[in-house]
């Protein structure tokens, strides 16, 4: 028995449903109308398209393999060295990397590895010739590892930290060495999450847009996601974009299905709690200390140095010009609105879906499941595919560039929805499990339940989810690039143009402003909505 939803709340839920479903349906309908126009045979036998498909799979596989193997090493080193001096800094950097806009990381990697970057300067100091290696697969891999190593490490580390003290005490008593510990304790603890983690990282790399667009450096290194964009913006071949979008959706569906089938589900934004302190028996051996230190220092460098390079590049004489440029503040404004708008719309969608899901759980199991699926369907539809669908669907009826900011907000809100749902649903459904009967026996329902029970418990997860989606949307480049026009700029788009036209001083300042905005949004939302910590 459950306090049922009153009419008012059902209205609220149906607003959320239409916000989620309408864009998806519009995208599907507009795709369908192009299916008949597509020259299927010429597309299917197009060698360029197949090269793009092959490259998408190849770079995603490599990125996943490197990110995950490195993450296992880093997570293990972090778990072993709980008193490592840089541990706090490294974990902080890893959290920051989750919300850094893609274009910032790309900029940092170019500053570091570009033809005139720090690595080449060091190389020529030793007498070598500057090498151009960052554009193409190397740069793509560097950027993908920059983002996915922290994500994967945090999830693996949380699994390792969850091993209880008795296990470690027992292993010391049995005299296990480092290798035994790995085989009998650590590996069994992390192997359960690896399939889903691999699927997640693979999907993120497979659909990555901004990184490939900026660091791909030409037709040799192009992914399906970028090819869709080019088909629309450069070739004006919408039928081809539809064909590529369908391909992309099929591939994403397969990847996510495989991940779901293979392993247990994972929490994307885990909090790491160190409960057992230095109980492991393998902390003493010298080579272990050396290798762990090496791994941790390298990991810190990998994430910290690009970010530092960006900040250093921001300190230059262009400050004055850039800061007094109206375009910057115009872009700043738009970015802020996109971030806050997407986060709130996403929250609106998620809370409506969750309300409906809980309402139906006791009454109609298949309806509840359908709602749950609706949130996950978004994962199969990459941002650019959804944006493409909307672009095509709306283009015929309205002046798309007049409402583009709203569409950018809507698409980013939809993209954030799976993250929102993941963060919120566990806490939300737990309220019902723990307090459902108590609430109904006391008659705490409706507005009072929201005010007295749900808000105090949920404000922490809500703040985290809002902050995450806001920071992600502020850094969005794909959707904005598709809908953007010279009048509507956002900071990532402005940076992209400045990078493209080699205004590196101006790009540096813009990058620092964007980075500052993202981190401020994240921190302010988390504190303001989440209240003071426990």
């Amino acid at each position: 028995m459950n306090s049922g939803l009153s009419k008012r709340w059902l209205w609220f839920s149906s607003i959320s449903f239409s916000l989620v479903l309408m864009p998806l349906l519009l995208a599907i309908v507009s795709f369908a109308s192009y299916i008949w126009q597509a020259q299927w045979l010429s597309y299917i036998f197009d060698t360029y398209t197949w090269r793009v498909v092959w490259f998408s799979w190849w770079q995603a596989s490599l990125s996943t393999l490197i990110s995950l193997s490195a993450a296992v090493l880093v997570a293990r080193a972090l778990a072993r060295r709980q008193s490592f001096v840089g541990r706090w800094l490294l974990l902080r950097c890893f959290s920051v990397a989750l919300v850094v806009p893609t274009i910032i990381a790309v900029f940092g990697i170019i500053l570091l590895h570009g033809k005139y970057g720090y690595v080449n300067q060091l190389w020529s100091w030793f007498g070598g010739q500057p090498q151009s290696y960052v554009y193409g697969i190397t740069g793509i891999l560097l950027a993908h590892v920059f983002f996915n190593l922290p994500l994967a490490t945090r999830i693996l580390l949380q699994r390792l930290e969850a091993i209880n003290g008795e296990t470690w005490r027992l292993s010391s008593q049995l005299g296990m060495n480092s290798k035994d510990l790995w085989r009998h304790i650590e590996w069994p603890h992390i192997k359960g999450v690896l399939p889903q983690l691999a699927a997640l990282v693979f999907a993120l790399c497979f659909t990555s847009f901004a990184i490939v667009m900026t660091l791909g450096g030409g037709p040799k290194a192009t992914t399906i996601e970028v090819a869709i964009f080019q088909a629309i913006r450069f070739d004006f071949d919408i039928a081809k974009a539809v064909y590529l979008s369908l391909l992309q959706m099929v591939f994403c569906g397969v990847i996510l299905w495989a991940g779901l089938r293979l392993g247990r589900s994972i929490d994307i934004f885990v909090s790491i709690q160190t409960s057992t302190k230095n109980l492991r028996p393998d902390l003493k051996p010298f080579w272990g200390i050396v290798s762990d230190t090496l791994v941790l220092v390298l990991a810190t460098l990998l994430v910290l140095v690009p970010l530092l390079a960006v900040v250093i590049a921001g300190i230059n004489t262009a400050w004055f010009d850039v800061l007094f440029d109206l375009r910057l503040w115009n872009a700043f404004n738009n970015t802020l609105w996109v971030a806050l708008g997407s986060a709130s719309v996403s929250l609106l969608m998620a809370s409506g879906l969750l309300l409906a899901q809980r309402h139906w759980r006791d009454r109609n199991a298949s309806a509840a499941l359908a709602v749950e699926w609706m949130g996950s369907v978004i994962l199969v539809v990459p941002p650019l595919v959804l944006a493409t669908g909307l672009f095509i669907g709306l283009n015929r009826h309205v002046n798309i560039f007049a409402i583009n900011l709203y569409i950018v907000v809507l698409v980013n809100a939809l993209m954030g929805l799976p993250y929102m749902l993941r963060v919120l649903s566990v806490a939300y459904l737990k309220i019902d499990k723990d307090y459902g009967r108590l609430c109904s026996s006391l008659g705490v329902q409706g507005w009072h339940r929201l005010q007295q029970v749900e808000w105090p418990i949920l404000r922490k997860p809500i703040s985290l989810a809002l902050a995450l989606v806001a920071a992600m949307s502020a850094g969005d480049l794909g959707v904005v690039a598709l809908f953007g026009s010279p009048d509507i700029q956002t900071l990532p788009l402005l940076m992209y143009q400045r990078l493209g036209s080699y205004q590196s001083d101006a790009a540096g300042v813009t990058a620092v402003v964007l980075l500052g905005l993202c981190l401020t949004i994240f921190v302010v939302l988390e504190r303001l909505v989440g209240g003071k910590g426990d």
């Binding site: 028995m1 306090s3 723990d434 307090y435 009967r437 108590l438 109904s440 026996s441 006391l442 008659g443 705490v444 329902q445 009072h448 339940r449 005010q451 007295q452 029970v453 105090p456 418990i457």
Partner: protein, 235 residues
């Protein structure tokens, strides 16, 4: 005073059917093996489970209650755990029993303070549940049961997580409060001692049905094979 007439329900594979009368002011221990349906009886009375039979009736006093929402039934429940909202002070947890908006008048605030005093928690109203001991938390919940002023108190193994000494103390408290407020108490328990000390009647449940009802003292000496098997006495 409490009357179960043909109250049936089905949970998973198991069928339950209760026919039972309990007089006002009784303290009744509900006993039986795990899974026999003790909690189900309480859940039906509180309204967390509903019966699927149109002929079924649950009557408290002269009011038919089986169609009512849990919050308006004349009963109040003490669960085994999760009785308190972890983010609310003891005072507010108690205040919820009076007004779910937590906007209390001065008189109502005094009521809450008085209830806290009655359960021996004077001055601890501002503490969060995590700052209270297990026994104190159950006392808060008991205090809330008092301020709700419902004539029937349902206790679902509420002291099973407490030490023996605390158990005894809580039993005595429940007994005293039940007398003072003329409550009818239904207590699910595994402890024959509870049945003797606290209750004057035992209801023994076996395989989803009321198998035996009678005075507590008679229960412990009974020759019925099911009861003896449950109490661990050889036949």
């Amino acid at each position: 005073m409490i009357n179960f007439k043909q109250v049936s329900c089905c949970l998973g594979q198991q069928q339950f059917l209760y026919d039972l009368q309990i007089a006002q002011g009784q303290v009744v221990a509900i006993m039986g093996a795990s899974g026999s349906g003790k909690s189900t009886l309480l859940n039906l009375l509180a309204g967390f489970i509903t019966t699927d039979d149109d002929a079924a009736r649950i009557i408290i006093g002269d009011q038919r209650v089986d169609l009512l929402e849990p919050a308006v039934r004349p009963v109040t429940t003490l669960f085994q755990e999760h009785n308190l909202f972890a983010h609310m002070s003891a005072f507010n947890n108690l205040a919820l029993g009076i007004r779910t908006s937590l906007k209390l008048s001065e008189i109502e605030k005094t009521q809450v303070d008085k209830a806290l005093e009655q359960v021996g928690l004077k001055g601890l109203g501002s503490r969060l549940p995590k700052e209270l001991s297990g026994g104190q938390r159950q006392r808060v919940a008991l205090g809330r049961a008092l301020v709700r002023r419902k004539p029937v108190l349902l206790l679902d193994e509420p002291f099973s997580a407490l030490d023996p000494a605390l158990r005894q103390e809580m039993s005595a408290l429940v007994k005293r409060l039940a007398m003072q407020n003329q409550l009818t108490v239904l207590l699910v328990t595994h402890e024959p001692k509870d049945a003797l000390e606290l209750a004057n009647t035992v209801v023994f449940i076996e395989a989803g049905k009321v198998h035996w009802t009678g005075p507590s003292a008679a229960f412990l000496q009974h020759k019925d094979t099911h009861i003896k098997a449950y109490l661990g006495q050889s036949c």
